[in-house]
Each structure stands twice: as structure tokens, then as C-alpha cells.
Amino acid sequence: MIQLKTIFAAALIGVGLAGGAIAAETAAPEDNTIAKQHWSFAGPFGTFDQNQLQRGFQVFKEVCSNCHSAHLLMFRNLAEPGGPGFSEAQVKALAATYEIADPDADGGKRPALPSDHWPSPFPTEKDARDANGGALPPDMSVLAKARGIEDKFPNWVFNYLTTYAEGGPDYIHAILNGYVDPPPAGFQLPEGKHYNKYFPGHSIGMPPPLTDGQVQYAAAADGKTVPLTVDQYSKDVGAFLMWVAEPHLDSTKAAGFRVLTFLILFAVLMWLVKQQLWRKVEH
């Protein structure tokens, strides 16, 4: 029976590969495949790089949050374990620099507390659209999980083994580096839009948000510095947005390792119990 199954399995894989190859071929004319980046939080043992999250937060605070909301992010999250690792005093001071609309407060406004949600830059969707040429800057709470990149047939099979879940940060990094000005000859760019080679349809409402040297990073505690480039900014903000979307990633992955270790040991013990029981039974 093994032979028969093997033949079928081989046939199936063959058909699949052929399909995948054909699919890849049809996609070939435009070389807009998004390159996968190296992320510290990828894979079962990945963890966020605290310095990178702090840098990414700075980019988010100084650039993104002028137009994008992130209503599920709370100030207190920034001091929680597994995050950028700010101290509670730092978070309290940071929150106090923001104003929150609160109908119960005198004058309808009060300084933010660590328990407050990150304030949205525009009070309503209508305001956001009016200020951005009709386009709505998407909320960034789970943006890093709401975007992804497409893998053709044989490749995505391996994603199950590598636990590839970084399609969102890869996409964000690509978009931030995908602006082409002027647009390719023959492309009809609508008024007020910008050409981005990775954006579906290529016509994006967001103007290029980052330029080299725009955000001044302080040196990390160990004195290390990173280049002040768009590539570096977009990696940092990609990592930060992944943390915003999945704030418990570090502790979940650590727990997963312990659980899997336990399950494998338990399985071995159960196998020995089962073998011992069945040893005397012809079966």
C-alpha cells in the first residue's frame, strides 16, 4: 500500500508545484513582490527588541499619529512587560502632554492618564477624510495583522513550520519604501494621490511620510546608534505596530515553548504507558 500512496502523493505534489509555478509566472511582469525582512520577533523564539520598539514609538508619535488613530492602544500599555519598556513615571508624564475629550471634565477636556486610550487625531471619520483629501488614514491598532503579503503555493506550506506571521510588518515596511516619484510613464495618477509600487492599484492617498534624518533618535542605553534612514524608520515602526497589534507576543511565545516541551514529554510518557499495556496483547 505504501507504494500506491507514495505515487499519489508524488502526483499531488507535482500538480501543486506545476500550479504554483504557473501562478508565479503570471505574476512575473510586475516585479512588486514584497521582500521579507528580518524581524527580531519572528519564529517560535522571537522577542521584541525593546530599543527598536522605543524607536518605532518615536516614529509613530512624531509622524504616524498626526493622521492615524490607534484607539486600542492605551498609554499604560507602553509600560507593560513585553513592550517598549518605558517606566510608569515616563508614561504618566507622556500622557499628561495629551488632552482627552471628556464630557465630565471642566471645559470638556482634561490631560490624559495612563489608563486612557491613545487620542485620535480627528474627532470623526468625516474630519479625518476632509483633512486627508477624502482618504481615511486607517486605524493602527491591529494594522500590522490586517495587512499581509501573498505567498504562492509551495512557499506558504513552509510558513506553517516557520510560524511566519510577519506579513503585516513586511507590508508596512514595503509601503513606506515603495514611493516612486515621478510615477512610471503612462500611469494615470489621480489628482492628490501618490504612486506607490507596493500599494494595490499603486495610487495611495498618503504622501511619502518619512524622509532620511526626519526623526532624531537618541542613542540607546548601551550607546548604540542606528542609521537615520527611511529604511530604518520603517523597520522600527513596523516592529512597533506589530507590538501594538499583538502586545502579549513575547509572553505567549515563551509560554508556548514551555507548553510544547511539556506536551512532548507527556506524549513520550503516554507512549510508554500505552506500550507497556499493549505488550501482552497480540494486535
Binding site: L4, F8, L72, P200, L277
Partner: protein, 426 residues
């Protein structure tokens, strides 16, 4: 209740005796879960029954906890699921176990169904057992569909719109059914509310049908890899400890990939669009169902031509028929031999059916216009797969029983076990 009450429970303690005289619960439990004589040659494909019972328990327990924190309101549902993952103690894990658990549950049920198809577990006297299984599978599909809508992301919303719309193809009663399902003319808050209610209800109906399924199993007893009925006591072993421990081992092994997905990649089986809140004004570029519905989705889409009746209704007939036909398998398969191991021609058609099912799954995830071989697209080649899917049940199974010459069967389970090296049993 069972015809296999081989050992009678005799209570020794007076309180136990008093209780047993009024409700023989302990004796019933002992005869069904402990003494139940089980064929001793069951292979690991048979452990998936226990795995499925375990998965039903996992889904119900995690689901009850999630329902404590979830808000079934179109404006709040999306954020409430996110808040479960962020702020509920252990919520990130409970949600991931429930969401990936659905996939693991379906994986197990497919193994269980295909095991039944290979070893002829649907044949007399187990027709009712099989039919109850198909009912459970249908209920599972409905439950999974309702559950997928609850996070109220883009895929949730558009899956609800597309799937409920299928019913609109039914003549006369289609529109009233559509409106009843949606609670209005479009998918909206009433849809979400009734889907939440039904998603909470159906698992308990599944549990009830599972009880019937196990009852119907205990009347004729288990089928086994050689398909020859139990003839004497030495063909069997008591369920406990032999199969309780073997099933437990299988459950633990099954939990390894389950934990892998739940902890490391809970979203890998889903679609990133479902992290965008439902928006009736924006249709996602590719609406695809979860992987476990893809083969049937491919069958639905393959019927894109009118033949006497409109293609939409015809597609729905094929879509529904592809599952309903399972009810008739016990009578469509005319072979007297149960196990595929002793049916040389059946094996080929069976494995082709498996490959064909996987192909349909793949087609379901592709764009219909994608070219596969030369000028032929997914829409073209998937028609071939639909033909084979139905031909397997309607033509091949009935005819094979007449023309196939099965290999000689062993006289008993014990005989086959003793001569194992000579006669390989798949």
C-alpha cells in the same frame, strides 16, 4: 442500552446499591466506558473519535469563557474580541485556542470521515451510526460558519453575506429564508445577534447527537481495519485501560501541532482582512472561506453555466448535494466487503477521491480565472473534479461491488492478527 453488557456492576456499598437500584448510572458508565469490548486490532486512524470528543470539549469550554467577555453588537463586536486578547487574563490564549481549535476540529473530522470511507464503517449494521456522523458534520459546519461571523471583521461580514445569499437561489422560499437568516434585507446587527445565539446553541445539539452517535456505536460495536466482525471474546480487549490510554496518547500528540498554531501562529490559518472591521461599503478583493469549506466552495463555484435551470440554483444543488450524498453512501456502496484493504480496485478509486478532494480544496482558494494547464483555468478543471466527486458515489461505488473481486478475508480478527507479517493491513 447496550447489547455489550458483558459484565454486570454489583454495588457493594449500601448507598451505592440504593442509588443503583433507582438509577443504574454507575453500571451504565462501567459497561460503556470501561468494560466495552473493543476489537483489539484498531489502528491509529481510530483514535480520531476520541480526539474529536476532546476537541468538542475544548471548543465548548473556551467558547463559554469567550462568551462572558464578547459583545454581540455590530458597533462593538470587533473591538470586544481585540479587548479579550489584550485585557482579559489569559484571553490571548483562550481566543487563539478557540479560533485555531476550529481548524484542528475540522482536520480531525476529515480524518475520521475518510477513515470511515476507506474501512467501510458505514456498512450494515452501522448505517445509523454513519448518518448521525453526517448530521454532526453538518452541525459543525453551521456552527463554524456562525462562529466565524462573530469577530465582525471584513471576512466575517462578507462570508455572512455570501453564504446567506446562497439560500436566495432556492425558488419561492429562498427570499423568506434569506431574510429570516439575516434578520432583515442585509447583513447587519440582527444577523450578528442571531448568529451569536445560534453559535452558542448548536454545540450543545452537537453534544447530544454525539451521545446518540456513541450509543449507535455501542450497539453493533466498532468496525475494525479488516472489517470482519468480532466473533469471540479473544478478538476484543476492554475499552479501559487499553483504548483509554491509547486515545489519550493520541490526544496528547494531537495537542502538539494544536499548541504550535495556538501559541506561535494563531492567525496563519485565517485571513488578514478579518483584522479590518466589517464595512458594508467595501468589498474585499478576494472573498475566500476558511480552508475547511474550500472543497465545497469550489463545487459551488464550478457550476457557472445554465443547464435547464439557472446556474445559481444549479450550483446550490451541487453544493448541497455534495454533502447530502454522504447520507446515502451506506446504500450506494454495494460491496459486501467492508475494509478497503481487501478491495484491490476500490483502493485506487478511493485514493483518487482523496487527492481529488484536496485538489478541490486548492481550487477553492484560487481565482477562477487562474490558468492551470495551457488555456484551462481553475473554473474549467474544477468541473472535472466535481464530476469525479459525484461519480465516486453514484457510479463507482455501486458498480465496484458488482465487478470487483475482493481478496480473501481472514476468518477472524485473532487470525488476522496472528498472521500479520504475511498479510499487511494498511
Amino acid at each position: 442500552m447496550s447489547s455489550h453488557e458483558t459484565s454486570k456492576y454489583v454495588p457493594t456499598h449500601p448507598v451505592a446499591k440504593w442509588f443503583e437500584d433507582r438509577l443504574p448510572l454507575i453500571g451504565f458508565t462501567k459497561s460503556t466506558l470501561i468494560d466495552y469490548p473493543t476489537p483489539k486490532n484498531l489502528n491509529y486512524w481510530w483514535t480520531f473519535g476520541g480526539i474529536l470528543a476532546f476537541m468538542l470539549g475544548v471548543q465548548i469550554v473556551t467558547g463559554i469563557v469567550l462568551a462572558m467577555h464578547y459583545t454581540p453588537n455590530a458597533a462593538l463586536a470587533f473591538d470586544s474580541v481585540e479587548l479579550i486578547k489584550r485585557d482579559v487574563n489569559g484571553g490571548r490564549l483562550i481566543q487563539a485556542v478557540h479560533a485555531t481549535g476550529a481548524s484542528m476540529f475540522f482536520f480531525a473530522v476529515y480524518v475520521h470521515i475518510f477513515r470511515g470511507l476507506y474501512f467501510g464503517s458505514y456498512k450494515a449494521p452501522r448505517e445509523i451510526l454513519w448518518i448521525l456522523g453526517v448530521i454532526i458534520y453538518l452541525l459543525m459546519m453551521a456552527t463554524a460558519f456562525f462562529g466565524y461571523v462573530l469577530p465582525w471583521g471584513q471576512m466575517s461580514f462578507w462570508a455572512a453575506a455570501v453564504i446567506t445569499n446562497i439560500f436566495a437561489a432556492i425558488p419561492v422560499i429562498g427570499d423568506p429564508i434569506l431574510q429570516l437568516l439575516r434578520g432583515g434585507f442585509a447583513v447587519d446587527n440582527p444577523t450578528l445577534n442571531r448568529f451569536f445565539s445560534l453559535h452558542y446553541l448548536l454545540p450543545f445539539i452537537i453534544a447530544a447527537v454525539v451521545v446518540l452517535h456513541i450509543w449507535a456505536l455501542h450497539v453493533p460495536g466498532n468496525n475494525n481495519p479488516i472489517g470482519v466482525e468480532v466473533k469471540e471474546k479473544r478478538d476484543t480487549v476492554p475499552f479501559h485501560p487499553f483504548y483509554t490510554m491509547k486515545d489519550l496518547f493520541a490526544v496528547v500528540v494531537f495537542c502538539i501541532p494544536f499548541a504550535w498554531f495556538a501559541f506561535f501562529a494563531p492567525d496563519i490559518l485565517g485571513h488578514s482582512d478579518n483584522y479590518i472591521m466589517a464595512n458594508p461599503l467595501v468589498t474585499p478583493p478576494h472573498i475566500v472561506p476558511e480552508w475547511y469549506f474550500l472543497p465545497f466552495y469550489a463545487i459551488l463555484r464550478a457550476i457557472d453555466f445554465n443547464f435547464i435551470i439557472d446556474s445559481k440554483l444549479l450550483g446550490v444543488i451541487f453544493f448541497g448535494g455534495s454533502i447530502l450524498i454522504l447520507f446515502f453512501v451506506p446504500w450506494l456502496d454495494t460491496s459486501k466487503v467492508r475494509s478497503g484493504t481487501f478491495r484491490p480496485a476500490f483502493k485506487w478509486f478511493y485514493w483518487l477521491f482523496v487527492v481529488n478532494f484536496l485538489l478541490l480544496m486548492w481550487y477553492g482558494a484560487q481565482e477562477p480565472a487562474l490558468q492551470i494547464i495551457g488555456p484551462f483555468t481553475v473554473a474549467d478543471v474544477s468541473k472535472l473534479s466535481v464530476v469525479y466527486y459525484f461519480a465516486y458515489f453514484i457510479v463507482i461505488l455501486p458498480l465496484l461491488g458488482r465487478f470487483e473481486k475482493p481478496r480473501p478475508l481472514p476468518n477472524s480478527i485473532s487470525e488476522s492478527v496472528l498472521s500479520k507479517p504475511a498479510a499487511a493491513t494498511t
